[in-house]
């Protein structure tokens, strides 16, 4: 009896992942955290389709007043709240949202899980529009 178990165990061989020494890959289909392609998002036009379907309030949208005094719109994506249900992705009219299969998501500070996208009015200095200036997130 014992030996048949041992044999079984031996026959199974080694399955153990070598992570973190070797990176693993989750299946492509895996529904991980959503990421926003800001260039496609039309939040500044008052679209809040994604926010509407976000049960845990991971997505929120509010107006802020910039230092310059002009109105801006900010879309906050809080991964600490996100339950990766994927509803926002299907809700987005612009396909600006997609889920990823990244898995190294842990963070030591709450702020690190909070990604703010600020839609500011056109820059008088004529920088290229629709382009991201600072980039945080999954480095």
């Amino acid at each position: 009896m014992v030996f048949s178990w041992i044999r079984r165990g031996l026959r199974t061989g080694v399955l153990t992942t070598r992570y973190p020494a070797v990176q693993e890959r989750l299946p492509e289909a895996f529904r991980g955290r959503p990421v926003l392609d800001a260039s496609r998002c039309i939040a500044e036009q008052g679209c809040n389709a994604c926010v509407q379907v976000c049960l845990p309030d991971a997505l929120s949208l509010q107006a802020v007043v910039e230092s310059a005094g002009d109105e801006a719109t900010q879309l906050v994506l809080d991964y600490a709240r996100c339950i990766a249900c994927g509803l926002c992705v299907s809700a987005c009219p612009q396909q600006a949202l997609r889920t990823t299969n990244e898995y190294e998501l842990a963070a030591s500070r709450r702020e690190d899980l909070r990604l703010v996208t600020l839609f500011a009015p056109p820059d008088t200095s004529g920088a290229e529009n629709g382009k991201e200036e600072s980039n945080g997130r999954y480095a």
Binding site: A106, E111, G130, E132
Partner: protein, 184 residues
């Protein structure tokens, strides 16, 4: 002034964390507490011990008593009834000790809180060192989080603000759906 103080405290905490990582670097004992999760997180945490992940190869073990534990692994949004037991468990742990929030519920309350029934995240009860988001976080995410607590891997997530210049005019925001829900 305020942010200076914030900086000071952060430095202090960083120093403590560094010390902890030196100490626990190669062996860590975990006490898990379920503070009201749907048992998916438990299921994933248990699977860390199966042959596919086998975290013991990384020197990480689960212990029975918080007296032997270095790290408190908490799941769930901290329901009212679990608040005191959670506190007690934390008190029962020797210094220095780490707290890791597992899953959206523990990190922020997720879909459950704050409400009449739960605190909404363990941050409102205990100081949290590591947040592991996800619903539930996959075992690999858990391993990453635990190793991050030990300073054995790099953090990948970085928050922050990115600014998009848009030529289109800004229009007025309609209030988001959720406020409506809240008055039930």
């Amino acid at each position: 002034m305020a942010d200076m103080l914030d900086v000071a405290t952060r430095e202090a905490s960083e120093r403590l964390k560094a010390k902890v990582q030196r100490l626990f670097g190669h062996s860590l004992h975990i006490r898990h507490v379920d503070a009201g999760s749907c048992n998916a997180c438990e299921s994933e945490i248990k699977l860390l011990l199966n042959p596919y992940y086998d975290i013991q190869r990384l020197g990480i073990f689960f212990t029975t008593s918080p007296r032997h534990a270095d790290l408190l692994l908490v799941t769930g949004p901290v329901t009212r009834a679990m608040e005191d037991p959670l506190r007690q468990t934390y008190e029962a742990m020797p210094d220095p000790r780490l707290v890791v929030a597992v899953g959206a519920c523990a990190c922020s309350g997720g879909i459950f809180g704050p409400s009449a029934f739960s605190q909404g995240g363990i941050e409102s009860v205990l100081p949290v060192d590591i947040f592991i988001p996800g619903c539930p976080p996959s075992p690999l995410t858990l391993i990453h989080g635990l190793l991050l607590a030990l300073g054995r891997v790099e953090q990948r997530m970085q928050g922050g603000t990115r600014r998009i210049r848009v030529s289109r005019p800004l229009s007025v925001i309609t209030p988001s759906a959720q406020e409506k829900e809240v008055q039930g």
